[in-house]
């Protein structure tokens, strides 16, 4: 018997597997489960976008694209950032099309971090940042955002986490799992600290189209003096319901994008061709779809927030993404216990908050990317569960 451990890289072996999958897997094996655990739109990709992908296949466009991505797509991405956020990027020097936002995050870490460099990563946050940072040789330094701050990153907390080794700040807003956003005034305070300590920022804006209550997403790149310090990560998965197409992009200073492109060229070659044709259509003619989906999510968000508050699980009002992050401490259960019992007793799957960092303990992540009918049924079951717990206690 070969002991494969001696061949495997020890850093990869010591990475913990993602805590989201566990409840997924239990849910998949059970009958009549209502799942609120998945972080992807329930909408199908709008037809006109799919149709462009199909048409490109019909025409036989099945070859590699240029490493950076098709120039039409790069131009549309650049137009989009100009139109939505008044940010100007040269499509041929400052943009790179990647396989999902995740690849772009990986590339950015690997291009910036040297062994021992610290990257500050606020938590709770999406599960990929810490492991990707570690695998790039960096050291993730986590800052806990707090319920009482509406899970926004505070400049003072950032300042306190900075050491001489800090090189990068990751800004994952609108946030998965909390649904928190950062407004311009919050970002201005963060920017002051970033500039003072000469840091770079990786701004993951994948949920930028999903903000509510009339607040538009603000990119930190649009704050004074931050354009040259920011790598913007974005993609098509969440805004256009295109998760399976695997298409994202990075925008930023030309010297950084060109190094990321080099790595992308060796590791990936080019992003999927069919998806790129579809994405051009999405950026050109997809605004109406985005608005429609946002309105739908907004109704669901209100229903779910109201539902949790009503049943006594206090829930701060999330202003972005499609998650709510209710506090379950009043039940006396840990996040893990709450989720396990909820799925076993009521067949409803949600994700424990601590899957997104230790500070998520005491919370659960609930995705509202489901039909209203599905959400209503799930809320009724959770309400029953919470009432039964109260009687027990």
């Amino acid at each position: 018997m070969i002991n494969y451990d001696k061949y495997l890289n020890s850093s990869i072996r010591s990475l913990a597997p993602s805590g989201i999958r566990k409840f997924f897997d239990i849910a998949n094996e059970m009958d009549h489960v209502i799942s609120l655990s998945i972080g992807e739109p329930d909408f199908q990709t709008p037809w006109h976008i799919r149709d462009e992908g199909i048409r490109s296949l019909e025409k036989g466009k099945t070859w590699y694209s240029p490493n950076r991505g098709f120039s039409d797509l790069l131009k549309e991405i650049s137009n989009y950032y100009e139109r939505r956020f008044s940010l100007t990027y040269n499509p041929f020097e400052q943009a790179l099309v990647t396989v999902g936002g995740s690849e772009a995050i990986d590339l950015a870490f690997r291009c910036l971090l040297e062994e021992g460099d610290e990257a500050i990563i606020p938590q709770p946050a999406f599960v990929c940042y810490n492991p990707l940072c570690t695998m790039a040789g960096g050291v993730p330094v986590n800052i806990n955002t707090k319920n009482e701050d509406n899970f926004r990153l505070k400049a003072a907390d950032l300042e306190a986490a900075i050491t001489p080794k800090t090189k990068l700040l990751v800004l994952p807003f609108p946030n998965n799992p909390t649904g928190a956003i950062m407004e311009r005034s919050d970002l201005e305070e963060i920017a002051e600290v970033v500039k003072r300590h000469d840091l770079m920022v990786l701004s993951d804006e994948i949920y930028c189209e999903l903000t509510y209550g009339g607040r538009n997403h603000v990119s930190i790149a649009s704050v004074d003096g931050m354009y040259e310090r920011t790598i913007v990560i974005n993609g098509f998965s969440k805004s256009y319901a295109m998760t399976g197409w695997r298409l994202g992009y990075a925008l930023g200073p030309a010297p950084i994008i060109s190094q990321m492109t080099k790595l992308h060229q060796y590791g990936i070659m080019s992003a999927p061709t069919t998806a790129q044709y579809a994405a051009i259509e999405a950026l050109k003619n997809g605004d109406r779809d985005v608005n429609h989906m946002r309105d739908e999510y907004d109704m669901r968000r209100r229903l779910v927030v109201d539902g949790f508050n009503e049943m006594g699980l206090s829930c701060f009002e999330p202003l972005g993404a499609f998650y709510v992050f209710p506090c379950i401490q009043s039940t006396g259960l840990s996040s893990e216990e709450f989720c396990t019992r909820l799925i076993m007793e009521k067949h409803v799957a949600v994700v424990p908050g601590n899957a997104f960092g230790e500070c998520g303990e005491g919370f659960v992540r609930v995705s509202y990317s489901y039909s209203l009918k599905h959400l209503k049924a799930a809320l009724a079951r959770i309400r029953e569960f919470v009432e039964e717990l109260r009687h027990e206690g």
Partner: protein, 138 residues
């Protein structure tokens, strides 16, 4: 489109509290709005969406397209009303195009529907021809 109507047309079982939460409006306002829609006939009623095919006493439905000669005074209305009077007829649509009226007809078997067309429908004065199409819900 009005969001309240959109929600109710998908699911009439939302409580007014849930509707108020989703639309971000006070519950009183929602109640008043629904009342108004009911009063002025914009909301005509609420009904269950039944999957009859899963019931033991199943039946068949067909669509019958009719070409008719309109009456001088009453146009298509008179014939449409006569059709509607048959208990087999579920609904009547006025069409533009090759046919003038479309009927949705229900019976226990296809035989019932054929007999209905042959014995009842075809005897109405002014009906020129009929085409029967069966329907299956998917």
């Amino acid at each position: 489109m009005d969001k309240l109507l959109q929600l109710l047309s998908k699911n009439a079982q939302f409580s007014t509290a849930e509707l108020a939460a989703m639309l971000g409006e006070p519950e009183d306002h929602i109640k008043a709005q629904i009342k108004e829609y009911e009063n002025n006939g914009i909301i005509k009623g609420y009904q269950a969406v039944v999957n009859w095919e899963n019931m033991a006493d199943s039946f068949v439905e067909a669509m019958i397209e009719l070409k008719v000669t309109p009456k001088k005074e009453t146009g298509f209305d008179e014939i449409a009303e006569r059709c509607m009077a048959f208990e087999e007829v579920e609904s009547v649509y006025l069409m533009a195009g090759v046919y003038d009226l479309a009927l949705i007809v229900r019976g226990q078997t296809m035989q019932d529907i054929s007999m209905f067309v042959a014995k009842k429908l075809s005897t109405i004065d002014g009906i020129l021809c009929a085409a029967t199409r069966t329907e299956a819900s998917i």
